[in-house]
Symmetry: C2
């Protein structure tokens, strides 16, 4: 059953934690991204987890292997249930992240999910320096590498889920950002957006929604409506 992840895209902890509080009893996951984490640090992860949510710490690590191993270890110890890395960082970095995941879990007692970023969903064909191959094919080949390197799944556009599942197996998880009830570009960076129903039909396991929930007049109602749309899709 696909799960909803609400992106807490706020510049400060108080507003983010307040929003999470208003969403209790709706989506099971909250996402803490770079802007919020750079402003608030690991305390905001703990605060959101303490409200009963599972937390996706979306920092997209991309550094030398030893640093990524340490960063994942720290992220796990902060209470994150899901973390991610860039697969463009290569095999040694990815395997170091897997090691950091398990080292961190020795402190917390549970092993979080480790996702790989293939191609950012904001990236259009021709925008990847040095990469001339088809962007969908490049993303699928990175996903296959991620599966081979021991990751749990990948962040990818809804349009790539089917080919990734075919190539990496149904149990290899897909998390899809840029979900928009009613589809249509939201005027932000996401280039390849989908509706919740489309993404669930495509086979995505986690759907990330930001402004359409957190910017709604009644965020909890908006979240419940999206979850109802998701549940109505027969897979």
């Amino acid at each position: 059953m696909a799960e909803l992840v609400v992106a807490l895209d706020f510049p400060a902890a108080d507003v983010a934690v307040d929003m999470a509080g208003r969403l209790r009893g709706t989506a099971p996951w909250m996402k803490v991204g770079l802007e919020l984490f750079c402003a608030a640090g690991p305390d905001v992860v703990r605060a959101v987890a303490d409200l009963g949510f599972r937390v996706f710490l979306d920092l997209k690590f991309h550094d030398i292997p030893n640093t990524v191993r340490g960063a994942v270890r720290s992220a796990v110890r902060s209470g994150a249930d899901m973390v991610n890395i860039h697969l463009m960082g290569g095999e040694r970095m990815a395997r170091a992240a897997v090691e950091g995941l398990h080292e961190g879990a020795q402190t917390t007692g549970s092993v979080p999910l480790l996702f790989g970023v293939t191609v950012l969903t904001s990236t259009a064909q021709g925008e990847l320096p040095g990469i001339s191959t088809d962007i969908g094919e490049y993303a699928a080949s990175l996903a296959a590498s991620g599966a081979a390197w021991g990751l749990n799944g990948v962040v990818c556009s809804g349009y790539e889920v089917e080919s990734i599942k075919k190539r990496c197996g149904a149990s290899f998880l897909c998390l899809t950002p840029g979900i928009r009830p009613g589809g249509g570009a939201g005027g932000d960076d996401q280039r390849r957006v989908m509706t919740p129903a489309q993404a669930v039909s495509a086979g995505s396991d986690y759907l990330v929604v930001g402004r359409p929930v957190t910017g709604a007049a009644d965020p909890a109602a908006a979240a419940r409506a999206i979850m109802a749309e998701m549940a109505a899709v027969r897979r």
Copy 2:
């Protein structure tokens, strides 16, 4: 005159701030990387800056443009004097980072330096998924893009400084990690290491040294010895 940056590669704030305290009056810069920042958040940047150091917040942002803009803004507001992004993130992301830099500086009153990561110094030829061109050439072309997109400089191996300066001009700054007094691989990730004297001779503007200082019996003495070696090089 090239400047020394000491990498505070520690898993917790107390140890890192203690080390910075022991290094007062030696290196002008301290570096806070992903592992320390994920454990401690922006408070550690302020604590190190309050000791009188300039702080390089080395998080290597690589996300959708809007998120990187917000992350750089938050990083600047935390008191960082230098931040960095991956140039593999492309032009839109890089230009969004430049916007975030100036937005953040409206709060702090000074515009930090924005550096681009070309190819991680831990990456060997053939390890970059989808990139078959020569790694030095790929790094130099990314550096040229970074200069065109408005960055202050790039993180690069000492072996690439000359070609980058030739291509981007002497005022385009180069920061070189993996510096080792006496050279020789240090058993960690860095693949293309140099001595302080070699890096200064090559034209590098900032030299990053980690364990050779922070792991020394007398860190302050180790830092001073490296700075003396740097100063002795005639450019």
